[in-house]
């Protein structure tokens, strides 16, 4: 199942539940999910930006955290990601467009950032 970005709620599960192949990707790093549930197991799940109960075990996946750039993923703004300024911290490079020695435009390139 696809629970990414909270569009579909994660169902209530019992302790010891096993998730297989599900997508829990969250918009913001260190978003807590399934708080208070023990003995969870995740097999081949997308755990981007998820903080999972500490005793959970993982097979073929593990949580990691990413700062998504809304300039790179404007669709994510619809799901609740805050808008960034144009020259935000996700800028990886800037191309300038020059005519007759005068900069007339700048093109910004963005990338998501891995965070701890």
């Amino acid at each position: 199942m696809n629970y990414s970005f909270g569009i579909k709620p994660i169902p209530a599960v019992e302790n010891g539940h096993i998730f297989k192949g599900d997508n829990f990707c969250q918009l913001l790093p260190h978003t807590k999910i399934l708080e208070g549930i023990t003995g969870l197991k995740f097999i081949n799940c997308n755990l981007t930006n998820c903080d999972i109960p500490a005793d959970a075990v993982f097979d073929g996946c593990k949580p990691y955290h990413v700062s998504f750039c809304p300039n790179k993923h404007p669709k994510f703004i619809e799901y609740g990601l805050a808008i960034c300024i144009q020259n935000c911290s996700h800028v990886s490079s800037i191309d300038t467009v020059t005519i007759d020695g005068t900069v007339v435009d700048e093109v910004y390139y963005y990338e998501d950032r891995v965070v701890i």
Partner: protein, 344 residues
């Protein structure tokens, strides 16, 4: 050095010429095998660095370089050889340079970690002529299959699920997708198709469109587009380029508020014999330049946005079985073409 070659992370890594002497990494095999040779692989290789396909290539004269996953006994039964990225912030497998004509069968890539890292990464160099059969990409921080620079490739019974970006991202072409499945990805199931053929595939449960940014000269045939959180199919806007064909598809249950079955974005499109059912918004919208052939035959019509729902009849979509139950004796023959992909 003539093959076949063998890869097994439990091998002794001596010469790769048998299971007992198998190389422990597929990178060695990729660096060794030449056109017409076969690499057999089994088990799971956990990666610390990306796998690069950047030295050899298949040729029309000598044939593909084949990579075939095997079961624990070394037999070819559909069991996949697994490349696990172990969340190391790496693309799993990248084709670089003129790495044309590889045949990959029964291979799974997963767990890239990091940001925007792809499973099968075909977006670095222009490559041609790959065939991927029963390959799987899941739990990648980028696209499952990033096909931005590959052309004349065929993807057969491949699956891409629970990736952070698109299941199959395809900004190059022409490519062919037969009986593939894209599910539960955080963006589109299939994205940026043009000059491609998508036949007998399933795209469902994705956070964005089932098929997004559909562009010119693409054919969607007998494909299920179900339960995506945005539009079922969205044509790229403002292209005015030659028309996509959408034939015999089942476009159902797009679940987001106002999600449209087919959002034509005022682009030219030909639609024939498709089923529509329970899309949250209109079944079809913005189809101002079109030819439409209704499911039950009859005259062409312009009354697309009032198109009536039809009965979807899936067997067990909760478990990804989108074959049809054939309960309606009046179903046309086209609907009786089953889409049965026993994916897990």
């Amino acid at each position: 050095m003539a093959g076949p070659f063998y890869v097994d992370p439990a091998g002794d890594n001596s010469n790769g010429l048998s299971w007992a002497t198998a190389w422990i990494t597929i990178q060695t095999a990729f660096d060794t095998a030449v056109a017409g040779e076969i690499i057999y692989c089994r088990g799971t290789q956990t990666l610390a660095a990306a796998i690069d396909v950047d030295i050899n290539a298949g040729t029309n004269a000598a044939g593909w370089i084949k990579v075939i996953g095997c079961n624990a006994a070394g037999n070819v039964d559909g069991t996949r050889f697994i490349l696990n990225g172990n969340a190391a912030d790496i693309h799993i497998l990248t084709a670089i340079g003129a790495a044309d004509m590889y045949w990959m069968e029964n291979v799974e890539v997963k767990n890239t970690g990091g940001a925007a890292k792809n499973g099968f990464n075909f977006s670095t160099s222009s490559i041609d002529g790959w065939i991927l059969i029963n390959c799987c990409a899941n739990n990648c921080s980028g696209h499952g299959f990033s096909n931005g620079s590959i052309a004349f490739a065929s993807f057969i019974r491949c699956i891409s699920y629970s990736n952070t970006l698109d299941g199959f991202y395809n900004s190059n072409g022409p490519n062919r997708y037969f009986f593939c499945c894209a599910r539960d990805n955080s963006r589109d199931g299939f994205s940026t198709l043009y000059t491609d053929v998508v036949y007998g595939c399933i795209t469902h449960g994705n956070t964005d469109d089932g098929i997004g940014v559909l562009r010119y000269n693409t054919c969607l045939i007998n494909t299920v587009i179900d339960g995506n959180a945005d539009d079922g199919i969205e044509l790229a806007a403002s292209t005015g380029l030659p028309t996509p064909l959408i034939i015999g598809c089942r476009i159902t249950n797009q679940s987001g508020a106002g999600s449209i079955g087919l959002n034509a974005n005022s682009e030219p499109v030909v639609i024939g014999w498709c089923y529509f059912e329970d899309n949250d918004g209109d079944n079809i919208q913005n189809a101002t330049l079109h030819q439409f052939i209704p499911l039950e035959g009859g005259a062409l019509t312009s009354n697309l946005e009032d198109l009536a729902n039809t009965e979807e009849g899936y067997v067990d979509k909760a478990n990804h079985d989108f074959s049809t139950r054939y309960v309606d004796a009046g179903d046309p023959d086209l609907r009786r073409v089953a889409i049965t992909i026993p994916w897990s």
